[in-house]
C-alpha cells in the first residue's frame, strides 16, 4: 500500500491501520528488513547487547539500528515478588525461545529497574546494589532535572522498563501482549518509534514517517537522513564498544557482592524536537557547528561527519573554541566526558584506546506526543497529534557517568568549570531545539537476574 501525506492526512491510511497506529507504516515504508547475520550461539550475561551490523555512510562505518523500538514502563502491584519473578522470567524465556534474542531479526528485550522497585527489596538492595567509586555515590541515582531542562520536565517513578527492539513489528507486538498479560504489572506508558534506512541513498524512514504523519518541518528533513535532525547518529566510532558500558569494565564501580556483574545503567527520556526551528533558523554550516563543533569541516549537506578518536575534542580544545566563538557544539561539549581520556585495559584484557566512546545509545525517533499510550494522560500531557521527537535510551557504566555527559551538554564540565551561556540558547549545542518532557534512571541487571532482581534473597 503506497501512502502519501495527503492520503494519510485524509484518513485513508489511518483507517487502514491497526492497533499499532502510524507505526505499522514502518513495515510498509521501510521496504523490508535489513539483512541480518545468522543467530549467535549462547546468550551473553548482558541484557543490553544486540548484534547490529555495520554498513558505510559517506565512507564512515555506521551501525544499522533496529527498524522498530518500543518501551513499556510499568509499576508493580503489591504482590509476592518471588512468584512474580518466576512468572516474568517464564515470559522472557518464552520470548527468547521464540525469537532469536541477539539480533533485530528476532527480538531484543532489555529489562531495567527503577529506584521505586529497589525500595521494595531494601535490605538486599543495601547489600548488593553497585556503588560508584569514582563519584562516591550509588550507581543508580535519583532522577534529576538538568540546567537546560524545562521546569516541568516530569521525573518518573516507574518500577520497571522493558526495551523491545526488532526489525519486525509483529515480534514487538507479541512481546507487548505477553507482558501486558502479567496481572502484577500496571503499564504506565508505551513508547514507540523507528530509526534507520537511507544509507543506500533511499529516502529514510524518519523522513517518510514524518511526512506521512504531517509533522511540522517534515518537508525540511534531508531525504536520506537517518534521524530527524539530519545527521547520522549511529556511526560506529560514536557508540561504545561491546562491554564498555558494563558496570565493571572501566573500574568505576564497586560491585560489592558481584550480583550485578554484567549489568549496566540505563537512562530513558523523551525529547521533543522542533524541526522547523532547526531547519528554518540554522543554515547548514550552523547546523554542523551546532551538532559537532565550531570549525567542524563538512561538505555541503554531508550527513555522516566522522567523529573517530582522532576527531574528538578534549576539554582544553572545547574551552579554547568557546572562548573564540562564544558557543559550543553538542558533540564537542560531551566528548570530554563521553570518550576515554586515556587508553584503558578492561578486566577481560580488551584494550580500549583513548578517544573510545563510553555510552551505548539505543535512541530512536518517534511521533509519540509524548507517548503512544499513557496511563496518566493529564500528567503526561498526552495527545494523539503526532510530534517529532526522540525516545532517548542510553547505557552507561553508572548514573553519574550519564550525568557527567548530560551536564557537559549544558556546558557544565567535569572539572567543575562552566561555559557561560544562557540555557537553551542557540549557543548551547542542540538545546534550543530540544525539550525534554520525561526522565528516569534504571539499573539493568545481568540476564540471570533480569526478573525482579534480589527478590529471591
Amino acid at each position: 500500500m503506497k501512502i502519501d501525506r495527503r492520503s494519510f492526512l485524509g484518513g485513508a491510511a489511518a483507517a487502514a491501520l491497526g492497533g499499532a497506529g502510524i507505526y505499522e507504516l514502518v513495515d510498509q515504508l521501510s521496504g523490508g528488513s535489513p539483512v541480518r547475520s545468522a543467530a549467535a550461539v549462547g546468550l551473553p550475561s548482558e541484557q543490553h547487547l544486540l548484534d547490529l551490523q555495520t554498513t558505510h555512510s559517506e565512507g564512515v562505518p555506521v551501525i544499522v539500528p533496529p527498524l522498530h523500538s518500543e518501551i513499556l514502563t510499568a509499576t508493580v502491584h503489591d504482590v509476592d515478588l518471588r512468584k512474580a519473578q518466576s512468572e516474568l522470567e517464564d515470559v522472557l524465556r518464552g520470548l527468547e525461545s521464540k525469537y532469536e534474542p541477539l539480533t533485530p531479526a528476532g527480538l531484543g528485550v532489555t529489562v531495567g529497574w527503577g529506584i521505586p522497585y529497589f525500595a521494595r527489596v531494601r535490605g538486599a538492595a543495601q547489600r548488593h546494589l553497585p556503588f560508584d567509586r569514582r563519584a562516591r555515590k550509588p550507581v543508580l541515582l535519583p532522577t534529576r532535572r538538568f540546567p537546560s531542562d524545562p521546569r516541568d520536565t516530569i521525573l518518573e517513578h516507574n518500577d520497571v522498563a522493558f526495551l523491545l527492539r526488532s526489525d519486525a513489528r509483529s515480534h514487538i507486538d507479541d512481546a507487548e501482549a505477553r507482558l501486558r498479560a502479567l496481572d502484577f504489572l500496571h503499564v504506565t506508558s508505551i513508547r514507540r518509534g523507528f530509526a534507520g534506512g537511507g544509507f543506500a541513498g533511499k529516502t529514510s524512514l524518519p523522513k517518510k514517517m514524518a511526512i506521512a504523519a504531517g509533522v511540522p518541518g517534515a518537508d525540511l528533513i534531508p531525504d536520506t537522513s537517518e534521524l530527524f535532525l539530519g545527521f547520522t547518529s549511529t556511526q560506529k566510532a560514536g557508540l561504545g564498544p561491546r562491554l564498555i558500558a558494563n558496570h565493571e569494565t572501566l573500574g568505576y564501580v564497586d560491585l560489592r557482592t558481584g550480583y550485578f556483574h554484567g549489568g549496566t545503567h540505563m537512562h530513558l527520556s523523551h525529547i521533543s524536537e522542533d524541526l522547523e526551528a532547526w531547519y528554518l533558523n540554522f543554515d547548514f554550516s550552523e547546523r554542523v557547528l551546532t551538532a559537532f563543533a565550531p570549525g567542524q569541516k563538512a561538505k555541503m549537506n554531508q550527513q555522516t561527519v566522522p567523529q573517530g578518536p582522532k576527531d574528538v575534542h578534549d576539554e582544553a580544545q572545547l574551552q579554547h573554541s568557546f572562548g573564540k566563538t562564544g558557543r559550543f557544539g553538542h558533540s564537542a561539549s560531551i566528548q570530554p566526558t563521553s570518550r576515554l581520556q586515556r587508553n584503558h585495559v578492561g578486566p577481560d584484557g580488551t584494550v580500549y584506546p583513548k578517544g573510545t566512546a563510553i555510552p551505548q545509545r539505543a535512541d530512536f525517533n518517534t511521533l509519540d506526543n509524548p507517548f503512544f499510550f499513557s496511563a496518566n494522560p493529564a500528567r503526561d500531557k498526552y495527545t494523539k497529534d503526532p510530534a517529532a521527537g526522540v525516545h532517548f535510551v542510553v547505557f552507561n557504566p553508572t548514573g553519574d557517568d550519564f550525568e557527567r555527559n548530560r551536564l557537559a551538554m549544558d556546558g557544565r564540565l567535569p572539572g567543575g568549570k562552566t561555559l557561560p551561556v544562557k540555557q537553551r540558547s542557540r549557543a548551547q549545542g542542540f538545546n534550543s531545539v530540544l525539550t525534554t518532557t520525561h526522565r528516569q534512571n534504571y539499573l539493568v541487571p545481568p540476564r540471570r537476574h533480569r526478573s525482579f532482581p534480589l527478590a529471591e534473597l
Binding site: P216, A218, D219, L220, E276, A277, Y279, L280, N281, F282, D283, F284, E286, T325, G326, R327, S425, R426, A427
Partner: protein, 193 residues
C-alpha cells in the same frame, strides 16, 4: 482551508489570464498602485508590485494588512503585510524587499556572538517564472526569520519576497507554492519622475 481554496482559484486565474506573461503584461491593481508607485519614486528605482497575495492579505501599502513600511538611507526598502490571527487562525506574513544598486546579499547581525551573517542563506533551489530567475533561501534573518525567501536580480539591484512558515501555511512546500504564485504575479513599477 479557505486560504488554500482562494490560493488555488487565484492560481488558476493567473494561468488563464496571463499564461506566459512577462513582468509587464499585467498591471499593478488600481487600489494598490498608488502606494507602490510612491515607493518606486522614493527609492528612485523599479519596485515589484504583486497582483496576487495569499488569503487574506492584499498588497495595499498603508492598508489594513500593512505591518512595516521602511526605507533606509541607502534606498533599500522593506514592505511587510501581516495578518495576525488572534483567534487561532494563524499568521499570514509576506515581506517585499529591494536593494537598489546592490547585487550582494546583505549582512545581518549574527544570532550568536558578534559579527555578521548573510541575511539570506541556505539556498535550496531555484524558481523560474515571469522572466525572473529566483534563488530559494531557507534560512533568513531579521524580519525574514522563519520565512522561505526568494531573491533575484534586476538591472543591478537585488529584490526579495518571503513568506512565514506558520499555520495556515504550515509547511515550507505550501509556502513555496504561494511564493511561486507571487513570483508569477509580480509586475514592475518604474519611477515616474
Amino acid at each position: 482551508m479557505r486560504a488554500m481554496v482562494v490560493a488555488a482559484v487565484a492560481a488558476i486565474s493567473l494561468v488563464v489570464l496571463a499564461p506566459s506573461a512577462g513582468a509587464n503584461a499585467r498591471v499593478c491593481p488600481h487600489a494598490w498602485s498608488t502606494g507602490w508607485q510612491k515607493l518606486a519614486n522614493r527609492v528612485d528605482a523599479p519596485v515589484y508590485c504583486p497582483t496576487w497575495m495569499p488569503n487574506p492579505l492584499d498588497a495595499q501599502i498603508g492598508g489594513q494588512w500593512t505591518d512595516i513600511y521602511s526605507i533606509a538611507k541607502d534606498r533599500s526598502y522593506l514592505v511587510s503585510f501581516l495578518e495576525h490571527g488572534d483567534l487561532g487562525s494563524g499568521d499570514v506574513h509576506v515581506n517585499f524587499r529591494g536593494y537598489p544598486g546592490r547585487r550582494t546579499v546583505p549582512k545581518c547581525p549574527a544570532p550568536v556572538g558578534e559579527g555578521s551573517v548573510p541575511c539570506f542563506s541556505n539556498p535550496v533551489g531555484k524558481l523560474r517564472a515571469n522572466g525572473i530567475d529566483a534563488t530559494v533561501y531557507q534560512v533568513n534573518q531579521g524580519a525574514d526569520q522563519w520565512h522561505i525567501l526568494l531573491a533575484w536580480h534586476y538591472r543591478g539591484s537585488l529584490y526579495a519576497v518571503s513568506e512565514h512558515v506558520i499555520p495556515p501555511y504550515r509547511f515550507s512546500t505550501q509556502v513555496k507554492r504561494n511564493l511561486t504564485l507571487l513570483l508569477k504575479s509580480l509586475v514592475l513599477v518604474k519611477p515616474s519622475r
